[in-house]
Symmetry: D2
């Protein structure tokens, strides 16, 4: 397994009236991490997917610990958690990662990415070379509590 | 079952470079609908919960049809889709609802709400009168595709 | 003078950690009011300008009273405060306007709108019929404190 | 003069349907640069001001060149452009600053910061040691076009 670890910078205005990074902002943090991971060195397929079109079909986020604004970026681990015919899932772990701190996991998440033919305005199947690249980067299912508890 | 139907107004800046309302914005739209539903007439318990503290523990959104900015608000149906001891789930359907249009469902979603003791900074159990109020407003599970397909 | 009065809906997440609608959000509220005013009945020129392209060249906002989230929309008065050859200024007053309340002005603002030839990717001059429409809707300069104090 | 130069990271969702970073987002970018500058090493007074309270009383932004999302942060130069009794102005220049690129200035801006007594809920005068610190960091007026053209 080879997770990619992407630093993502917070903004003061991400905090809401509770003084926590608002729940909707986390979907933006995932987006930044995803773009960083898909365009990282060695994943030119990801970059080309971003160009030809890959849409978010589903997002699931579990909020574990409230996150407050700070200067240091949070770290977001990203990996391929499922590979389908015309879509794939990405797993995420948003954590602290500052040196000299015990690591804290703020959230775990998963998004389903639908590979899209922007010209034809419709989903398309993953090509073999795309599947190969994504396989090299794949990891375990996301440890979402809801699933472990069998409620889903 | 008694869904509450809450109109939610879009903003032009909700659209991203694809010309669609960005996926992260949907979590904000759910938040507006939720506040509207919990503070609606006859749900003073909801309002008091908002005051004493209710946090988002989990969000799951399925994006079905791209949504573009328009003047008319979208309609968000909200209902109690699960009732637990110290938390409850809300189901959402974001749809068009304009007169003279065929209705379009843009997204289905669910959030797990954790009832929180703001003074004690920790989750607390739902009181009996809160459970009674939420029961009166409860409905079926959200028709999320992922679950029906048995992948979760 | 004929100001247009546009109701603009707030979102809970507009509030920052101070519990006030964040200063950057006001620029979004102005944007919503501007689109509402330019597309209002009888201003089809405005609508056509939005289609052919009108960009924000400048924004100036004075914050007078902190604004908190509430269910009722704020009212934003909008008028043409200056008419140039290839641009025009819009004046704004963001105020309370709820019945039974003393009116409160939260902010005054002005934006310079540059009329743009989207095909040619460059500013263009206002046509005579556009100037006529905008003139009918024009009003006084915005009562910005800074200018009255002669500091600008 | 000693400008502080603060890198500020963009987000993909900052772009609107025109494919440009939305005008309202610039006020957020200024906020990030301001917090970075006020908490920079050697400006502990700034940090303490952030704690005791400093509010945005006014913002003025001139948009010069459309900005698109990119991985590299933009650079925001920040300096004290005016020092008053109970407030001060900050000047900003948002520019490209990437090595090997001709520098591009995307926007120039100014904010009026009101020093606030959070306990007393009202503006307060700057202390002498605060004025001394801010003076060491002061620079010229912001080169806003509007002022040079004498329209303000």
């Amino acid at each position: 397994m080879s997770r990619r670890q992407i630093p993502v910078v917070l903004r003061w205005a991400d905090m809401d009236a509770y003084g926590h990074v608002n729940n909707a902002v986390f979907a933006q943090l995932l987006e930044e991490a995803r773009i960083g991971a898909l365009t990282a060195e060695g994943s030119e397929e990801g970059g080309s997917m971003l160009d030809t079109g890959v849409l978010v079909g589903r997002v699931e986020i579990e909020y574990l610990v409230p996150l407050r604004y700070r200067h240091d970026p949070v770290l977001v681990d990203v990996w391929v958690s499922h590979l389908g015919g015309a879509s794939f899932d990405l797993g995420y772990e948003v954590h602290d990662g500052r040196v000299g701190h015990d690591d804290v996991v703020y959230a775990r998440a998963e998004t389903t990415m639908v590979v899209y033919d922007l010209g034809g305005h419709r989903p398309r199947r993953l090509a073999e070379h795309e599947r190969a690249k994504l396989t090299a980067w794949s990891g375990p299912p996301v440890a979402l509590r809801r699933r472990r508890e069998g409620r889903a």
